[in-house]
């Protein structure tokens, strides 16, 4: 621990650890030293000079090394001849900081006058106006006049697209370098930079595509002016016209805390519409960041293609119907089916939805199945992170193992936070079948043959990293499904748990297992009692009634698609008329997460609450309500009136959730750095968290639990003329939650088959060749992409990019013959 240092700032005494910067010490006691370039998450650079203060230090007698005292007994303080930047000066014992003197006021005024010499002052049409640090600080510290000549203002371009997502207004930039530093320091994508010098300085991007970073939106938050804006929000609304609701990102298991800004507007017929999604501070989850998928891929919620009415099948077609008719028809069928009811629920649903669906299914004696391509939830519930753990606390003395997950693509904010931990000294071991962005920061990269990931984990404690792992205070293990099927992920989770147990890290703080689930609430799915099942195809085919909620098996897997034909009666709850919904006998349209409340549980096992952002559209219901109303027809008393009441019931039943309530989930505490407060401005427009930090779940007891054993070798053994095809995950896939946001269109994953050039030669394949890839009895056109990083004999294909491939499999690709392609598909 650094030692504490005491100083005075504007007459107030402050004690803070050595190394603290003057500006931070001041903000901690509520004294605002204005800043532009300084950001507490970035290294200080002292570029803007806004934070100038007077600093005095105690005079030391050089001969005796003792402080010199004034006649009145107070230490003698010597002030420097010039003002100093509070953002680059660390505190020292006895320091006296003056931020209120005339000298300081004059300096701030001058700095602002300089900054404004070439600023366009187009606040009335600027997106930042109303939440702009430059605007606010000019009002508070600046002058109304300028001594500079209007005619000599720089005129620069105002609508520069830096890529598809971010626009730059060159005139507004005050050259603070926050954006450039964020891209370099925090996310290691130095794809924007400064060009030229002095007044001519401009932000540029030279990457292909422009501003090629999945974190680009964050720069618009921390830019202290309206120079950077998102293509999604620019000119969309004024900040003061918008209301906000606390929400969560649903795209991945990180569970970033967000704020949804909404406004009533004429454009949408006087309805409340979503204008933008912003990060909401949660220092244990996403800090003040979010990725571009979370920020921009929300338009599925306001898509015009959403289902608006219940549908019922009459003959070969689906017709609109009333809720009463649909509910009674559905429950009638469920009643008849009895134990022939099979329910598939996915990690897209909230805890409340899943709980009610399980109750409905179980009381009929039916089978409740978690629809997930990953296994290991029961292991995670016993070997996960302990409450109180925080990725932000990992550093020296920590080892992080990431196996079979490209965190940068699958859970971007975890990648960012692992990288920060490595910067603080954590040792990263990266285990995967192909290179990922983790390799660059890993102390050790283990490239393994596909299918042998679990074996590699098992071997860690006998390998060259064994001592480092054993001696580490904290050991955190991420496991994912890159190139793995469901069974293999289960074996992998078991191997990881054994590693934690053998190394002595199991159930210790800041240690444990984190699953990189494929959906935002897959952890909740496990917790609510929905586990993936074997023989899912057979179960679908033999179900008397199949209830599918938040999943689209017909689109995911041709075998499931065919099995659905055999299902006697199919009920679907969804936002869209998915391939599965189109086969259904009854379709219930559901509310999007923006229109309701609920809870999700993140991969770190933090239960978090989200709130309605827009009013629920007429005629739609939440999934838990639909389940409860079907239940009511069957004489079940399930809660349908409020998510909070469902939560009360589930908290009473599910041990880890015991004692939790909505008010508890809404609790917050002070966080550092301070963001979102105009009085002590720091951090950009990220929102302060006033609606809940969530609660980290306790682990389940270990008694009676054995880590499953079994064959760890999951390799495929293709013949010479075959390929072993492994599905991998891309951040921007072609799932409906992404494709509904057209801004992201140019970056979506394609149906490409990545193979090693040597493999291509052996199989007579060439780059860009179109071939047919057979998957479970159907064949799909894919394009060959040569990639030397792919293991020989293997082929990688992005999931949800046009080819429904769930599990690794052996396949023999064939060139399309004539119109063969279309024939096979139909």
């Amino acid at each position: 621990m650094p030692k504490d240092i005491t100083l005075t700032i504007d007459g107030q005494t402050v004690t803070a650890p050595a190394g603290t910067l003057v500006v931070d010490a001041a903000k901690r006691i509520g004294i605002n030293i204005p800043v532009f370039c300084y950001h507490p998450k970035l290294e200080p650079v002292g570029m803007c000079r806004m934070c100038l203060v007077e600093i005095g230090r105690p005079v030391i007698d050089r001969t005796t090394n003792n402080p010199v005292f004034e006649a009145d007994g107070k230490p003698k303080i010597q002030f420097g001849p010039k003002l100093e930047t509070a953002c680059t000066t660390p505190i020292s014992e006895g320091m006296v900081v003056v931020g209120l003197s005339d000298k300081v006021k004059a300096a701030r005024k001058d700095v602002l006058e300089f900054l404004l010499t070439s600023h366009p002052l187009d606040c009335p049409i600027c997106d930042k106006g109303g939440e702009c640090p430059l605007q606010n600080q000019t009002l508070e510290y600046g002058s109304a006049d300028s001594r500079f000549l209007l005619d000599e203002k720089m005129r620069l371009s105002k609508h520069v697209p830096l890529g598809d997502l971010i626009f730059l207004d060159r005139e507004r930039c005050i050259q603070c370098a926050r954006c450039v530093r964020f891209q370099t320091e925090i996310v290691d994508d130095p794809v924007i930079g400064f060009y030229n010098r002095g007044r001519k300085l401009e932000i540029i991007t030279d990457s292909q595509p422009g501003f090629d970073s999945i974190f680009s939106g964050n720069t618009t938050d921390i830019c202290p002016v309206g120079a950077l804006t998102t293509a999604d929000f620019r000119f969309g609304a004024r900040p003061w016209e918008m209301n906000n609701a606390a929400s969560l990102c649903t795209h991945c298991p990180v569970g970033c805390n967000t704020t949804i800004n909404v406004r009533r507007e004429a454009k949408t017929g006087g309805n409340v519409s979503i204008k933008r999604i912003m990060p909401r501070q949660n220092e244990t989850v996403n800090e003040i960041w979010m990725c571009d998928k979370g920020r921009f891929a929300y338009h599925f919620a306001d898509s015009p293609d959403r289902l608006k009415n219940p549908l019922i099948r009459k003959g070969s077609e689906l017709f609109q119907t009333t809720w009463t008719e649909a509910l009674s028809a559905a429950s009638e069928k469920i009643k008849q089916a009895g134990s022939g009811l099979v329910t598939l629920a996915s990690g897209r649903l909230t805890n409340e939805d899943i709980y009610n669906l399980r109750k409905l299914t179980e009381t009929q004696g039916g089978t409740f199945i978690g629809y997930s391509r990953m296994a290991g939830g029961e292991i995670v519930n016993r070997f996960g992170m302990l409450p109180g753990s925080n990725l932000g606390d990992l550093g020296k003395d920590s080892v992080i193992v990431v196996v079979s997950s490209d965190l940068h693509e699958e859970a971007p904010i975890w990648w960012l936070r692992v990288r920060e931990a490595v910067k603080r000294g954590a040792v990263l071991i990266s285990i995967s079948i192909r290179p990922t962005r983790l390799d660059k920061i890993a102390a050790k990269t283990l490239r393994v043959e596909p299918g042998r990931e679990a074996l590699a984990v098992d071997a860690i404690l006998t390998g060259d990293m064994a001592d480092i792992v054993k001696q580490a205070k904290h050991l955190l293990v991420f496991y994912g499904s890159d190139g793995l099927g469901r069974k293999a992920t289960g074996q992998l989770a078991a191997a990881c748990a054994r590693l934690l147990e053998t190394s002595g890290h199991a159930r210790r703080i800041n240690s444990g297992l984190i699953p990189v689930w494929e959906r935002g609430n897959t952890q909740g799915l496990w917790d609510m009692g929905a586990h993936p099942a074997d023989q899912i195809v057979e179960r679908i085919a033999s179900a008397r009634v199949l209830l599918v909620a938040g999943a689209d098996p017909a689109n995911d897997d041709p075998m499931m698609e065919r099995a659905l034909e055999k299902t006697e009666f199919l009920i679907v709850q969804d936002l869209f008329a998915t391939a599965t919904a189109r086969k259904a006998d009854i379709v219930f349209p559901v509310l999007a997460f923006t229109e309701r409340e609920g809870t999700y549980t993140s991969g770190e096992r933090r239960v978090q609450r989200f709130y309605p952002a827009v009013p629920a559209p007429e005629g739609l219901k939440a999934d838990y309500e639909i389940a409860a109303e079907m239940g009511a027809e069957l004489g079940l008393a399930l809660e349908s009136s409020a998510a909070s009441l469902v939560f009360q019931q589930l908290a009473a039943e599910i041990p880890q959730y015991s004692g939790l309530t909505y008010p508890l989930l809404a609790k917050t505490s002070d966080q550092w750095p301070i963001v979102g407060r105009p009085d002590v401005y720091f951090g950009g427009t990220s929102y302060a968290n006033r609606q809940g930090l969530g609660i980290h779940l306790p682990l389940l007891p270990l008694e009676d639990f054995e880590i499953p054993s079994g064959d760890l070798d999951m390799s495929l053994h293709p013949d010479a003329h075959e390929l072993a095809v492994y599905p991998v995950t891309r951040l921007l896939d072609r799932g409906i939650t992404v494709t509904t946001s057209p801004l992201l269109a140019s970056r979506l994953a394609q149906a490409d088959l990545f193979i090693h050039p040597a493999t291509a030669r052996k199989m007579f394949l060439n780059a860009d060749m179109q071939v047919m890839l057979p998957v479970d009895g159907a064949a799909y056109p894919v394009r060959i992409v040569l990639d030397e990083t792919v293991p020989e004999g293997a082929a990688l294909i992005p999931r949800s990019a046009g080819v429904p491939i769930h599990e690794p499999q052996v396949a023999q690709v064939a060139p399309p013959v004539g119109d063969h392609a279309s024939r096979v598909r139909s």
């Binding site: 930079g193 400064f194 060009y195 010098r197 401009e202 540029i204 030279d206 990457s207």
Partner: protein, 173 residues
């Protein structure tokens, strides 16, 4: 294919060998010099190739080109005459000097004379403030400083440069 590398393999390897393995980044400066000496200016394609060689992003290389007034990413004249007009120089009349020089040559700041020989540029501090007005001339792989200048002296120098160029080309322009 990395043409820049292929065409200058030996020189590039020599430059890279001066830096510790695993830290190629600082070699960006000599590589840019090399590119500029070879082509007269740094083409976008070469810039990308340098980024590839050094394993940094093209944006980072472009930023460096943009920062230094000695690098050019657009074709210009054979000689770049770069006049400092930063504050100290401006106080000693550099603005006026630059304007008069341009008027004499019949071009604007940033433009090149019709014969393609002289480009006039305005730059930031050249660290010779006490000898303003001053400029530097960059060309033929060389840089020279010219301090305490007058327009007449500068025009004379330009005449010499033109003569030198003509001699080297063996023509009598």
């Amino acid at each position: 294919m990395n043409e820049f590398f292929v065409q200058n393999t030996e020189a590039i390897q020599k430059i890279l060998s001066a830096y510790p393995a695993g830290n190629k980044r600082p070699a960006v400066m000599p590589l840019l010099y090399l590119a500029q000496r070879t082509n007269g200016f740094i083409q976008k394609k070469t810039l990308d190739e340098i980024a590839e060689i050094l394993e940094i992003t093209p944006t980072e290389v472009a930023s460096i080109v943009g920062f230094y007034t000695l690098y050019h990413d657009e074709p210009g004249g054979r000689y770049h005459l770069q006049v400092c007009t930063d504050l100290p120089c401006a106080l000693r009349g550099a603005d006026r000097f630059l304007q008069d020089l341009c008027d004499n040559l019949g071009i604007k700041v940033g433009e090149t004379t019709a014969d393609g020989l002289i480009t006039i540029e305005e730059v930031k501090c050249l660290a010779g403030c006490h000898h303003a007005p001053l400029f530097q001339v960059q060309g033929d792989g060389d840089i020279s400083y010219h301090e305490d200048q007058t327009v007449d002296a500068a025009m004379q120098l330009i005449a010499e440069l033109k003569k030198k160029a003509a001699e080297r080309e063996g023509t009598n322009a």
